[in-house]
């Protein structure tokens, strides 16, 4: 009883503190006077490259701050459709960008600034002895891939089609991160992920490139959004992406060159 009374006395104070800390957080989206903010929605696989690029961009554009929201492309598209305010959208696949474009949210044409190709990731030491794409179909191999509903799964499916190989993964995950996680933890013998994912995993997985991956090169489109209040800066960010500096940083992360 006494404990309850104490709690009752503390509760309003606690609520007040919670509200006080939460409210500025809610209202704090607005730009401070005298500077501008560029909000970029980007596919999760772009995190390290884009963070590096943002530093260059901020140095070249004093007074402009870049803020990111990194998530799965489909999630970001849903948020944009629901009215999330952003200046740039960089997607990991063309289909998602097309949906955003159909919704009339894109200003101008999207530009493919990079490509990504599939690679086989195996735990260090390659315990299952995977040498080729065809090895993935062998009996007893625990393969983890993406579900066909997500871009990396679609890419894997088109490689399957072009090679006539039928894969039977033990799990079809929602994202490359989940695939990679199961390879890193050693649960899976192999995973089908992107070259860039293997690169970012460092030494925790080994990569086995395979020529058949060429059948499914995945373009990364980026676009200025129609709702942007800072289209000039957004355009400059896309220019930086497509320019030599941007391409260099993206190549270092394992991305292929963009078409435009």
């Amino acid at each position: 009883m006494r404990g309850n009374r104490k709690l009752a006395a503390v509760l309003p104070a606690l609520l007040a503190v919670l509200l006080a800390t939460a409210l500025p957080g809610c209202a704090g989206g607005g730009a401070a006077a005298g500077s501008s903010t560029l909000t970029v929605f980007a596919a999760a696989s772009l995190k390290s490259s884009f963070t590096e690029l943002a530093e260059r961009f901020e140095a070249e554009n004093p007074g402009t701050t870049v803020t990111f929201s990194f998530a799965g492309s489909a999630d970001l598209a849903t948020q944009l459709n629901q009215g999330a305010p952003a200046d740039v959208f960089a997607s990991a696949d063309a289909g998602t960008m097309a949906k955003v474009q159909e919704a009339g949210l894109v200003d101008g044409e999207p530009r493919d600034f990079a490509t990504n190709t599939l690679a086989i990731a195996v735990p260090p030491g390659n315990p299952a002895g995977i040498r080729s794409f065809a090895d993935l179909a062998k009996a007893g191999i625990k393969l983890v891939a993406c579900a066909e509903q997500v871009p990396c799964g679609a890419a894997a499916a088109s490689v399957e089609d072009s090679t006539g190989t039928v894969l039977s993964p033990v799990s079809e995950e929602n994202s490359v991160t989940d695939v990679l996680g199961k390879v890193i933890s050693g649960e899976a013998d192999a995973g089908l992920v992107y070259v860039t994912d293997v690169r970012s995993a460092g030494g925790r997985v080994e990569s086995i490139p395979f020529p058949e991956a060429g059948a499914a090169v995945n373009p990364y489109p980026a676009a200025v959004l129609a709702g942007s209040s800072n289209k000039a800066a957004a355009g400059r960010f896309l220019d930086l992406l497509a320019g030599p500096e941007g391409q260099e940083i993206l190549a270092a992360a394992g991305f292929g060159p963009g078409s435009r």
């Binding site: 799965g72 579900a147 509903q149 079809e172 929602n174 050693g186």
Partner: protein, 293 residues
């Protein structure tokens, strides 16, 4: 004078402003659900929820939730009895640890399970020698669900055991009943309402399990892809299907929760009302799960 069941004049002592906040609280829960229902594509509802992947997911969910509920009962009843009745050092610590999954993010549970039953895990290599492979199997789903659902049963049952006290057991013992007989013929029947509501909550929580399953068991149609995982996947490409399946899950959850919280039947003079005397409402300390985390 108190008007019996008329209720109209009965004094409740609830201040009016409390009603306002209560309505707000109810809206926090009900409004999003209503908004989701409003988005259901009714024209395609039946085809969406009866597609092969959807049916496979629903069937898998019901089967695994039933299996994990059974496992929760088999393991949870002894645990609850020991926690409620046992007297040994570190009992309090054991209780806190066992209840941990209630507050743990399910994904953490998944990681923990992975390092226990996974190939490289604590028991994984031993299990592999025995020819048991848990990762990527339906067993992994059941294990993940049991992990998150067990505390619901234990909390529920331990509460019932504590409220009931030990006086009936003591009397039964002095009448010559061995501990086994007392447990079977007195303890269990007395806490049956608590056990039932605990089992229903465990089932509901198992049905909604997502994070631990995704992390630990993987996602493959008919094997490990339960309804919440199917919803999560469909959301990528087919929001209509995701919403329709969400509605199915909500409907099942509502049915299950209604079952757990139904008012005990009145004490009819016909003698078939099983609840009386100590038969309080089922003790349920924790809210039902079922949220996608």
């Amino acid at each position: 004078m108190t008007g019996g069941h008329s209720g109209r004049q009965a004094y409740t002592g609830v201040p009016r402003w409390l009603y306002a906040l209560a309505v707000l609280a109810a809206l926090v829960v009900v409004l999003p659900l209503a908004a989701m229902v409003a988005r259901v594509n009714w024209a395609n509802f039946i085809p969406l929820v009866t597609s092969a992947p959807a049916l496979a997911a629903l069937g898998l969910s019901l089967r695994t939730a039933a299996a994990s509920t059974a496992l929760c009962i088999v393991l949870g009843v002894p645990l609850a009895v020991v926690l409620a009745r046992g007297r040994f050092p570190l009992l309090g610590l054991l209780r806190s640890l066992v209840l941990l999954p209630l507050v743990l993010p399910p994904v953490v549970g998944g990681i923990a399970l992975l390092y226990t039953f996974g190939r490289q895990g604590l028991l994984g290599s031993t299990l592999e020698v025995l020819g048991l492979q848990i990762a990527f199997s339906t067993a992994a789903v059941v294990l993940a669900q049991t992990f998150v659902a067990l505390p619901f049963l234990v909390v529920s049952l331990e509460g019932a055991l504590r409220t009931g006290g030990q006086r009936y057991e003591a009397v039964a013992a002095t009448l010559g009943a061995s501990p086994g007989t007392v447990f079977r013929r007195v303890t269990l029947p007395l806490v049956l309402p608590g056990l039932a509501s605990g089992a229903v909550l465990s089932f509901a929580r198992s049905l909604g399990e997502f994070g631990a399953t995704l992390t630990f068991a993987g996602s493959l149609q008919g094997v490990t892809r339960t309804l919440p995982l199917e919803i999560y996947l469909q959301r990528e490409t087919d929001p209509d299907a995701a919403v329709a399946l969400s509605l199915v899950l909500v409907a099942v959850a509502v049915a299950v929760v209604a079952l757990a919280y139904r008012r005990p039947g009145g004490r009819g003079p016909d003698g078939k009302a099983g609840k009386q005397a100590s038969g309080e409402r089922p003790t349920t300390a924790a809210a039902p799960g079922g949220a996608l985390t």
